[in-house]
């Protein structure tokens, strides 16, 4: 029976497949943990006044700080890190943006920090950016994730997975906010991403209720 060429070929394929499986097991570590998932977006209400925009949050924020963002006509992401005080973020006229970034499709890149020490390279009034985005039907809002400033989850993942094919991809959502998206097939379930995430944007998938600091 083993002298048949078809049987030999099948045996060869079986050996190659087994070899590939063993190699994959060695290069792809798995842990008995849970998959990460992205926390639901922040619910908020915006109230516009003459000299300020008040963004009232439905829930508190774990970090106590959020990124307020707005897009301009060139699809540029303009961001400002603001503290949450009494369940609200207030953007006043004269609050200048901290950074800008270029968005192409669902990718974000070319981050430029606008403030150098106590001086601004370029002043972009966040109040004007927000009201401009609202008036021109462009995207604006708040986001919990600090990407592109913070990349703790990506770095943590890279420390586990040796090749560059990591399961976390930072994606710009249709609403304009940047969030990590996970590819479960590639995730080793080490839990480092949600352990290291300082903002609570990534949570353990087994958590039934997202808990946030008040």
């Amino acid at each position: 029976m083993f002298k048949q060429p078809v049987t030999k070929l099948l045996l060869c394929i079986l050996i190659v497949l087994l070899g590939a499986l063993v190699a994959l097991q060695k290069s792809f570590p798995t842990f008995p943990g849970d998959y990460p998932r992205t926390a639901p977006p922040i619910e908020y209400n915006c109230a516009y006044f003459d000299e300020r925009v008040e963004i009232r949050l439905a829930k508190g924020s774990k970090l106590g700080r959020l990124i307020v963002f707005a897009y301009d006509g060139n699809n540029k992401f303009i961001g400002l890190l603001k503290p949450v005080e009494n369940g609200a973020v207030v953007v006043r006229r004269g609050d200048y943006a901290d950074f800008t970034a270029c968005v192409e499709g669902s990718e974000i890149r070319d981050v430029i920090f606008l403030k150098k020490m106590d001086r601004y390279d370029k002043k972009i009034d966040m109040f004007d950016a927000l009201t401009g985005a609202r008036n021109n039907n462009l995207r604006y809002g708040v986001q919990r994730c600090l990407y592109p400033i913070c990349t703790r989850c990506v770095e943590a993942c890279k420390s586990v997975i040796s090749n560059s094919d990591i399961p976390i991809v930072m994606t710009v959502k249709p609403e304009g906010e940047v969030l990590p998206v996970f590819s479960k097939g590639k995730c080793p379930r080490c839990g480092k991403c949600f352990t290291f995430c300082p903002t609570g944007s990534i949570v353990n998938s087994s958590e039934t209720q997202h808990t946030e600091g008040q």
């Binding site: 503290p83 006043r92 106590d118 600090l146 990349t151």
Partner: protein, 161 residues
């Protein structure tokens, strides 16, 4: 005359070496001896969204003193909160740099006003740090700056204090 100069030189060198040895001793006492190798290139400074100068944390480890004032030029908070953290914290008010105490007591700025900080103690800055790890990534000699920050966050001071 020549002998006098030799003596002055020798005393000077001894003092300088003694001072440098004292600093190195402080770095070892804080538990972060690698802080001696930071050459203050300020690469980390440019990467911090909060405008912190992470070299300030290294400096505080170097001197084994968590009360050293460091630059933190882009932290927004209410004046009352700044005052509660440290009345000696400096902040920007227009073109002036004033302390939180001056702002509240002399200038009459309302306590609920949002201010932007300028300089604060390393121990306070560590508590506000977002722990994003940007300073670690930008360090050209890969110093684990954030390990000092996490230490100060948890213990408020260095080991031997």
């Amino acid at each position: 005359m020549k002998r006098k100069l030799v003596i002055i030189n020798t005393i000077g060198i001894v003092l300088i070496v003694g001072y440098l040895a004292y600093l190195a001793f402080g770095a070892f006492r804080s538990g972060y001896p690698w802080s001696l190798v930071c050459y203050n290139c300020k690469q980390c400074n440019a990467s911090c969204i909060l405008g912190m100068d992470p070299q300030g944390f290294i400096e505080s480890a170097y001197a084994n003193d968590a009360d050293i004032y460091m630059y933190a030029t882009n932290i927004r908070m209410t004046l009352q909160k700044a005052y509660d953290i440290d009345p000696g914290m400096t902040l920007k008010a227009g073109n002036d740099t004033i302390t939180a105490r001056e702002a509240l007591e002399s200038r009459g700025i309302p306590p609920e006003a949002e201010i932007i900080t300028y300089r604060m103690r390393a121990r306070d800055a560590a508590k506000i740090c977002l722990d994003c790890g940007a300073c670690d990534k930008s360090c050209p000699i890969k110093l684990p700056v954030s390990s000092i920050i996490r230490h100060l966050k948890q213990h408020d001071s260095f080991g031997s204090e």
